[in-house]
């Protein structure tokens, strides 16, 4: 039973990490006031570009860097549309989703369905990994997981304890007041959108460089949408995003296990569990029957146009 639980927990961590990069990136982007609905497509581009590089060069570090570069470029394009041209963020996100899923399939055509020679393998951390239960859950993972252990505290610290994080929070609430103070609102938004896209491509790379060593069209299978949902669910706080991701991952893994432990229920109903749980959790955490100041960045999805000031 213990091994069962540890194994579910370890698996939930792996699952959570693969969506957390995108979700935390999107938290930054939305805190800056820009919503990106195209996460799924951008993840695919990340998965494809990373795999493509590793397939041709067998250099994992290079693949990781290429993935980030692709994310930055996509972010630049998205920021140009939404920040400079002030295009509607919802449509832009959908357009990116469609465009990127097409482009990833198109560019990745030559390497579809073939395995690469190398992938990121789990690295047990000496000492820590031999702690019973905890070691197995937390310290026999791969580099993406360990990196996430750093990303979580750093992102929380950045948002709540630094000057730049303070400006980020203000940016999503009231860009005009920052603009008045002489801060380049547009440059900040460009920066955060690009950062978010780079994080999203890393999420994609998790799937093609660590989960498997393989690329196939549409292989992210809806993870981008889950990451997107996680953002509002987390009330724009990375700490809650972590909880949400673990909850979603845990429940979906548990769902498959339930087929073994509680047979007789059609398996599709177990498949529905994580989605239903998300709705319930969303209602509990954000429902307005809890008298609280709304956490949603006030300027989210609002075009910022100096001339409207």
């Amino acid at each position: 039973m213990i091994s069962f639980i540890t194994s579910i927990c370890a698996a939930a961590i792996v699952y959570a990490v693969s969506i957390l990069y995108a979700a935390i990136g999107e938290i930054f982007s939305q805190r800056a006031g820009i919503m990106n609905l195209g996460i799924e497509g951008i993840m695919l581009m990340g998965a494809m570009s990373g795999f493509m590089t590793v397939y041709h060069t067998e250099n994992l570090l290079l693949a990781f860097l290429v993935t980030i570069l692709v994310g930055l470029l996509l972010g630049l394009a998205f920021a140009f549309l939404t920040v400079t041209l002030q295009a509607d963020q919802t449509v832009c996100g959908m357009a990116f989703l469609i465009f990127c899923s097409g482009l990833s399939g198109f560019l990745g055509k030559s390497v579809t369905g073939i395995a690469s020679a190398v992938k990121f393998e789990p690295i047990p951390i000496p000492g820590l990994s031999s702690i019973p239960v905890i070691g197995e859950i937390f310290f026999q993972q791969d580099i993406f997981v360990y990196l996430m252990y750093l990303v979580i505290p750093l992102s929380i610290f950045y948002i709540y304890k630094t000057k730049a994080g303070l400006m980020l929070r203000a940016l999503g609430e009231n860009p005009a007041s920052l603009d008045q103070a002489g801060i380049n609102v547009f440059a900040m938004r460009y920066g955060y959108v690009m950062f978010a896209c780079a994080m999203t491509t890393i999420s994609g790379a998790c799937i093609s460089l660590s989960y498997t060593n393989f690329w196939n069209e549409g292989m992210t299978g809806g993870k981008g949408w889950i990451a997107f949902s996680l953002v509002a669910f987390s009330r724009w706080n990375p700490a809650y995003a972590v909880l949400g991701a673990l909850l979603f991952g845990g429940i979906s893994i548990l769902g498959i296990n339930m087929q073994v432990y509680l047979p007789g229920v059609p398996s599709q109903f177990y498949g529905m569990l994580p989605y239903a749980a998300t709705v319930v959790a969303l209602v509990i955490t954000t429902g307005s029957f809890r008298k609280k100041h709304s956490e949603e960045p006030a300027a989210l999805c609002q075009k910022y146009d100096r001339e409207d000031r």
């Binding site: 630094t162 929070r169 009231n174 603009d179 008045q180 103070a181 002489g182 801060i183 100041h293 006030a298």
Partner: protein
């Protein structure tokens, strides 16, 4: 007093399209002085200050700061030079704390926020200038007066040498305003230069060292406060033009009891009690004014009467009938209309056209829709009637109202609200931000309505307006009703005392 000017603005000219907002304006500012910019709305005061702050670029003219010539390019540049401004609409982020808001305004602070150091600094300034603020409080929890103090604190923490305040007293009680001017004086004594924008002659005379008067973008007069008197200033502010004196003040016959409000208790948006069990009676054919500092519960009172806000306890009777639980539509049909304070966020729909705005309250009526289908001809006719009755200037009935001037927007809003001869008209700050012409027209309309026999509940923060128009005045302070007076039997001083919470 032969000092060199800290700042000199020479021949500043700024055009917006065909409108000359600033026409060759000269201005000198000396260290340690309080300088008032006096003028009506639209006289170019804010434009001039926005040029000083680097928000607008002048079309021509030059600036000398500490003897050096140069243009202020951006707000950031202005901040670096030590010039800061408290805008009329505060640039605070409500979800952040006071300290965080101040951090935000600082150009040079460590990457990792040192909360402790900041709080100490704030306390230090608090004592030095008697400027009380709680560094840990969230801004959305603060009163308007406190928020203004945070704005001033921001400038102090940035070591500003020139502080510009745009209409700083508009949101304060006379007493709070007095406190604020004391703070300003202390800062001036420490060598800071202060410019404050105002249209109130009394406060300018009382608190400034020197006064510059603007009208239509030009400097019409310059004086030392010690040389100033009301007549001279008034002439400079409004020019030779005659201000239309309102002549229909004559009181009609006392009307019957219209509204009887008993022990009203109403909560504000934060869930706190905004009105503490207040009772009053409104009669037909009177203008009943509500005086008080912004945020004393006026908004909640107006919304509670209009049916927009839930009444926690107490009752409202209209002609003896209970309407406490009647919804907005019910109250509209009973003859209650509401001119809200925020015309573009609540009263009108800026993105929709005049016709659509005109019919907002009446589209369900038989005259304007049949079987759920809007009768566009009737709606057009109604709009045209409003336009001609109230002399509304517009670019076309099909253009969004956001393109109209504020005065015309307000006229349209009022035309709509008095259409159908309502019995109670709740008018919240009906002339805020309007020019003299529009103000007079709106005042006339309100008086006409009273004389017709309607009751007008006038909410205002301008005592001049209240004394000019109202028959009775009630004073709110902190959600409590301090007293109700006949306007003819009271004076500014008494009302001012009541506004600050002193019982009579």
């Amino acid at each position: 007093m032969e000092k060199t000017a800290l700042l000199e603005m020479k021949g500043i000219t700024k055009k917006f399209g065909t409108v000359l907002a600033n026409d060759h304006i000269d201005l000198q500012l000396y260290p340690g002085e309080i300088h008032a910019l006096l003028g009506e709305n639209g006289s170019g005061k804010s434009t001039l200050m926005n040029i000083l702050l680097g928000i607008y670029k002048p079309n021509s003219g030059e600036m000398l700061y500490k003897g050096e010539k140069g243009q202020i390019k951006t707000p950031k540049h202005a901040a670096a030079l030590g010039i800061g401004m408290v805008h009329q609409h505060f640039a605070l982020i409500p979800t952040l704390t006071v300290a965080e808001n101040i951090f935000l305004s600082l150009d040079h602070c460590s990457f990792i926020l040192d909360q402790q150091k900041m709080e100490n600094k704030i306390r230090e300034y608090s004592e030095q200038f008697s400027l009380e603020v709680d560094p840990g409080a969230k801004v959305w929890q603060l009163s308007v007066g406190e928020q203004q103090r945070v704005e001033i604190m921001k400038l102090l923490c940035r070591n500003c040498e020139i502080l510009v305040l745009d209409e700083p007293t508009a949101v304060l009680t006379p007493q709070e305003a007095g406190e604020m001017f004391k703070t300003l004086r202390k800062m001036a004594e420490h060598g800071k230069s202060i410019i404050f924008i105002s249209h109130k002659m009394n406060e300018v005379m009382e608190h400034a060292d020197r006064i510059t008067v603007l009208k239509n973008g030009r400097v019409t007069d310059r004086m030392l406060a010690s040389d100033a008197d009301i007549d001279r200033m008034a002439k400079a502010v409004v020019g030779e033009r005659d201000i239309e004196k309102i002549t229909i003040r004559s009181k009609g016959k006392t009307g019957e009891l219209l509204i009887d409000a008993k022990d009203l208790r109403v909560l504000n948006d934060k869930g706190l009690v905004a009105l503490h069990d207040i009772s009053f009676q409104l009669k037909a054919g009177e203008i009943f004014a509500i005086a008080g500092v912004a945020g004393s519960g006026q908004r909640e009172l107006a919304e509670a009467l209009a049916g927009l806000r839930k009444i926690t306890s107490g009752r409202i009777l209209m002609k003896g009938n209970e309407i406490t639980k009647t919804n907005i539509r019910g109250r509209v049909s009973k003859g209650i209309s509401f001119i809200p304070e925020d015309r573009l966020k609540m009263g009108l729909i800026p993105g929709m056209n005049m016709k659509e705005n005109t019919v907002l309250k009446e589209f369900r009526g038989k005259a304007y829709s049949r079987g759920g289908i809007l009768l566009s001809k009737a709606i057009r006719a109604l709009t045209e009637k409003h336009v001609s009755d109230h002399d509304i200037k517009h670019g076309g009935l099909d253009l969004p109202v956001s393109l109209m001037s504020g005065g015309n927007q307000q006229k349209l809003l009022i035309a709509r609200e008095i259409n159908g001869n309502p019995e109670l008209i709740i008018a919240a700050y009906p002339v805020r931000g309007l020019d003299i012409g529009a103000t007079a027209a709106i005042h006339r309309t309100l008086l006409e309505q009273r004389n017709r026999g309607a009751c007008v509940l006038l909410i205002s923060e301008e005592l001049d307006e209240i004394f000019e128009l109202s028959d009775r005045v009630a004073v709110l302070c902190g959600g409590k009703l301090m007293g109700i007076r006949n306007t003819s039997e009271t004076d500014y001083e008494e009302i001012g005392r009541l506004m600050s919470g002193e019982s009579a």
